[in-house]
Amino acid sequence: MAAPLTQDEALFQFLLRMGDNTLILGHRVSEWCGHAPVLEEDIALANTALDLIGQTQMWLGLAGEVQGEDKSADDLAFLRDVWDFRNVLLVEVPNEDFGRTLMRQFLFDAWHSIQLGHLMKSSDERISAIAAKTSKEVAYHLERSADTVVGLGDGTEESHGYMQSALDYLWPYVGEMFASDEVDAAMVKAGIAPDPASLRADYDALIGRVLAEATLNIPDSGFAHKGGRNGKMHTEHLGHLLTQMQWLQRAYPGASW
């Protein structure tokens, strides 16, 4: 049996989870740049991606500090391979269509806003500062993704069909955001972060309200794909994403501008 995690090792894992979620989702959303259905949506998606990548710099920057191996946020983003990523599977699934992209954004934003609300009260001042800063941006993301989910869900027959199939596809990826393990237990004990499982009731209430307004049905299944946040098994999609995101640093190590 492996030795139990030290407090700094657990904190490092926690910070990777926060930063990898925003990094991978930021990259996914940025794939829409120049391809969105209308100009306003293109700009909105690019701005959302930009916020998420900016947030990543803070989370992974702090992760590098805690790790103590002199690694920058860029080193962590560009020089790790699939098995070292700690994002939930939800954020790495492909964009597919605009509806699925916005549904994924909504399902993530809802969790993200609740999580950051708790982290603003973290016993670790560095974490509460990042949470206070980023929660303002995330509240804005949630307002937009929720409005769009309602607009498209309660829209035409065609848009409704896209949104329901997006929800059906993504629903099995929701449960992982609320899974708890020894990293979370260490964070709870130190007053750094809440137990993920404890956020579920608020989450269900929030998404229940919005999805009802969007006339969408939440699938009747509690099955959850897992393996992203603990790095045991990512989907095949993450490797493909990294080949694009990391190619420059892989091809020209240390390149900068």
Partner: protein
């Protein structure tokens, strides 16, 4: 560029910084924007605390460079820029002068109500939102229903 023999006062430095334009909205200064949070002498080093606007704002690096360049042009050599993320930047820190200049320039200043008070061009209050986002992370896109001009609104956060 001149070498100074005496330390300029903190007030003097605030004045210099108030002449440094925001790189993306050059009608307002970095001081107007409310992102300079502190100017202090620590022995012979000038420490300037800067708070970022949006986490991913690409202007942040340019802003730091502009501050350093301006201060060096005034003869200061030992400058330390500190990024301060708490308390988080809010548009409440924008100066009245900055708000007025934004409107003159055609950008509606931030309002607590969450949308522009009026069209910056014809002053009509009959305005509608086009998109929650705009040309930079700090702006949203609106349109006047009377003069029909689209305009930027500086988001309130």
């Amino acid at each position: 560029m001149s070498q100074l023999h005496e330390q300029p006062s903190v007030d003097q430095i605030w004045e210099w910084l108030d002449a440094v334009p925001d790189p993306e909205i050059p009608v307002i200064s970095l001081v107007d924007l409310g992102i300079i949070r502190g100017v202090d002498w620590q022995e012979d080093t000038l420490v300037v605390s800067v708070t970022p606007t949006y986490s991913g704002c690409p202007a942040t690096a340019i802003i730091n460079l502009d501050i350093e360049t301006a201060l060096r042009d005034h003869g200061l050599n030992k400058i330390q820029l500190k990024t301060q993320i708490a308390p988080a930047w809010t548009t409440d820190w924008m100066s009245e002068k900055g708000r007025a200049r934004l409107e003159e320039f055609g950008i509606a200043p931030p309002q607590a109500a969450g949308g522009p008070e009026r069209c910056p061009n014809c002053k009509s209050t009959n305005v509608t939102r086009v998109s929650q986002f705009g040309s930079t992370p700090c702006k949203a896109h609106w349109r006047c229903q009377d003069c029909l001009e689209p305009f930027d609104y500086f988001k309130c956060i």
